[in-house]
């Protein structure tokens, strides 16, 4: 699905990603954890094609294509989806209109006809049910005035609508109450198939009780310093990052 090799990225002259290696196969769920500021959001932004970051080294292959050569919109059309840590508000543009544009742009890219309005509305209905999104939110302006939790839920709704191959969820669990967490996780699980993959960025092992990862990676100072199975998350939750930090500082010096 995606293969990241020795990825370095910087903003200005500050290097934030310092050699990331990660291989995600279809059907897998990977979790990325790590202290604040370690570069988790940066990694997802770089993969999604945010222009603020300079990729200085490394390569990324996404379904056989050189991801770094694609424009952000083409990455999305190829099936890469990012659920934003901080979803953006677009005043005056209804969620439905926004998604209809997105769906049709993606279809156009794949040489498909526009989705008939009737089918589209049926899809909205089906998917909003999946994430138990209030019908009113679907017709309101994109994220405008949404509560923190509603914004996160809306991201998963959009993900359900766009049916991506690889979804990166950047702290989708933060700001969700217990019920919402369960609903969102159930939604993600329902969307899971042997043909798609998910990268879950989180600080809390709790989410991983619902979305069970095949692999857990610890990101620290722009590198993946430790990888393991789902038990690694439990271990981190119990011990914190001190040991990793100390160990890493030793290697550095």
């Amino acid at each position: 699905m995606i293969s990241i090799k020795n990825l370095h990225a910087s903003i200005g002259d500050k290097e934030i990603l310092r050699g990331i290696n990660l291989e995600v196969k279809a059907g897998e769920v990977h979790a990325i954890m790590g202290p604040n500021g370690s570069g988790k959001s940066t990694l997802s932004s770089v993969l999604a094609g945010r222009e603020d970051y300079n990729v200085t080294e490394g390569e990324v292959t996404f379904n056989g294509k050189n991801l770094l050569e694609l424009s952000p919109e083409d990455r999305a059309r190829e099936g890469l989806f990012l659920a934003f840590q901080y979803p953006v508000e677009i005043p005056g543009v209804s969620n439905v209109n926004f998604l209809r544009t997105a769906v049709n742009e993606i279809r156009k890219y794949h040489g498909q006809e526009e989705m008939p309005a009737k089918d589209f509305l049926a899809l909205v209905k089906e998917k909003s049910k999946l994430v138990e999104l209030d019908a009113k939110l679907a017709s309101r302006s994109v994220n405008e005035g949404f509560s923190g939790g509603e914004k996160k839920r809306n991201e998963i709704f959009q993900m359900a609508m766009l049916n991506p191959k690889l979804a990166i969820l950047d702290e989708t669990d933060s700001g969700l109450d217990i019920d919402a967490l369960r609903i969102v996780a159930t939604g993600v699980n329902k969307l899971k198939s042997k043909d798609n993959a998910t990268i879950v960025i989180t600080h809390y092992q709790r989410l991983l009780d619902y979305i069970v990862p095949d692999f857990v990676h610890i990101l620290y100072k722009g590198r993946i310093v430790k990888s393991g199975g789902k038990e690694l998350a439990l271990e981190m939750e119990a011990k914190g990052y001190d040991e990793i930090k100390a160990q890493f500082e030793r290697i550095e010096s």
Binding site: E73, V88, L162
Partner: protein, 483 residues
């Protein structure tokens, strides 16, 4: 007919830049009393009309072109303009009645099928149209249907011939010939325009519309529109405009007057898409227009909605004089400037009657090297007790070479007034653009979405078919302006 006109509007780039090869009947260049007599004679006008013109002209000669607007341009040479250009009858009717297959193709390219257009506009034929080609009104549709209701909708020239008492009574009431430099010029040389009278108690069964087009080169367009809504009547009026793509600047100096009697309401919507000049600022229309309405009597309402995307230089302030008690004035505006366009636009709300209310919503969008100014006056006269105004002026900047300016003037002479003013300036957000792109929407489409969202409050005020057109126009006008 309405559809053809819409088609002609909704096209790529400045696809309206075609010229139609038709024979015209022109006056010689230049301006003097003889030219005015020539125009008046051509139109077979009564003596009082000629007098009105000559008086305005003599006035104009003593006026100087104002310079307070935040625009700079090369002053027109008033002796180098043709003041009368009429298409020779016969031929032009055919050319306007046919749909050019090229236009249809472009229309298709924009992704709007005729069917969809029809569906959106409900019934195909629910708009009556008056078409003003260069200076002369060439066709007014649905005249008979309207006449059954007692509605008079015809060209200004016809009104002068057939309804002189109405023209005489109302012309110049909202915009006196001495009002300003360009209004005076218009009063002297106007050649045609639309006239509309809605009798007592009648709601117009359809939207009335004027479609303006400047075609001939070297001509100025000076049309006049007069709308009178008698007691308890209602009309929604649409105005659209296009012009050919020419290297020289062409002058458009129109006057629009609206008069509402007791309990009457007029809603006037404009989608202005005059040729804006090329990307280096060459050519384009100078749009110096005076639009004003008077809520003459109690409980009447005048509402201006405008979407301004065209013209090299725009200078206009659709205003309302709130004379009747409880009368309401509204101004909803989207003004887009790109490349080297300049716009100084806004409104004046003059509160005279008691309990009068006005609302101003202005959305300016500047891109490229353009300059976009909002200029508005809210005046509460003494005795206008409990007058209320709410103004909101938002500016959206795209890129860092353009400018947005706000000049609100507030004069309050009555202590009971409540006047609120809000203003914001924002930049189109990189975050918003990236968010759209991450969902598979490219830059151009994303800008279209964001801008339409930003203008929604105003676009919502437009009649459905006009709103669709305006949305496309906004996207097209801003093509290539970010990223």
């Amino acid at each position: 007919m309405a559809n053809e006109i819409l088609e002609e509007h909704i096209q790529n780039e400045y696809k309206w830049g075609f010229t139609t090869n038709i024979d015209t009947d022109e006056a010689p260049k230049g301006l003097n009393e003889d030219i005015i007599r020539f125009i008046s004679a051509k139109k077979n006008e009564p003596e009082w009309m000629l007098e009105f013109r000559l008086k305005a002209f003599r006035n104009w000669q003593n006026m100087i072109e104002p310079t307070w607007a935040h625009v700079s341009y090369k002053k027109p040479d008033f002796q180098d303009i043709i003041y009368y250009s009429a298409p020779k009858p016969k031929k032009e009717l055919a050319s306007l009645d046919e749909v050019d297959p090229e236009l249809l193709k472009t229309f298709e390219k924009l992704g709007i099928s005729l069917e969809e257009q029809k569906r959106l506009s409900g019934v195909q034929s629910n708009i009556a149209v008056d078409i003003v080609f260069d200076s002369v009104s060439v066709k007014t549709t649905f005249k008979e249907t309207l006449a059954e209701k007692g509605i008079i909708f015809c060209s200004f020239s016809e009104a002068v011939q057939d309804h002189p008492e109405l023209v005489k009574k109302y012309m110049g009431m909202a915009v006196p010939p001495t009002d300003n430099f360009y209004a005076a010029l218009n009063s002297a040389v106007f050649t045609d325009g639309s006239f509309c009278y809605i009798p007592k108690g009648v709601r117009s069964p359809m939207e009335l519309s004027t479609y303006f087009r400047i075609n001939a080169s070297g001509t100025g367009q000076f049309e006049r529109t007069l709308i009178i809504a008698d007691e308890d009547s209602y009309v929604s009026y649409l105005e659209g405009c296009t012009a050919p793509q020419r290297d020289e600047n062409q002058l458009h100096a129109a006057v629009v007057e609206i008069i509402t009697h007791k309990n009457a309401e007029v809603k006037y919507s404009t989608v202005q898409n005059w040729y804006p000049g090329d990307k280096d600022g060459k050519g384009g229309i100078f749009n110096f227009v005076t639009k004003r309405g008077i809520c003459l009597e109690d409980n009447s309402k005048i509402s201006w909605t405008q979407v301004e995307t065209g013209s090299a230089v725009t200078w206009k302030y659709p205003s309302v004089i709130l004379k009747g008690n409880n009368s309401v004035g509204e101004f909803y505006s989207v003004a887009v400037t790109n490349n080297y366009q300049q716009a100084d636009t806004g409104t004046k709300m003059i509160h005279i009657g008691k309990n009068t209310r006005s609302t101003i919503i202005s959305k300016g969008i500047s891109a490229g090297f353009s300059n976009n100014s909002y200029r508005g006056l809210v005046q509460i006269k003494k005795g206008a007790s409990n007058a209320r105004n709410f103004s909101q002026c938002d500016s959206l900047l795209m890129g860092d070479k353009c400018g947005a300016h706000t000049f609100p003037y507030i004069e309050i002479k009555d202590k009971s007034a409540i006047v609120e003013h809000e203003a914001t300036t924002s930049k189109i957000g990189e975050d918003q653009l990236f968010y759209c792109k991450q969902r598979g929407i490219d830059n151009e489409k994303a800008i279209g979405l964001i801008v339409n969202g930003y203008c929604k409050e105003v676009l919502n005020k437009l009649p459905m078919e006009f709103a669709v057109e305006a949305q496309k126009l906004l996207a097209i006008s801003l093509e290539g302006s970010v990223g």
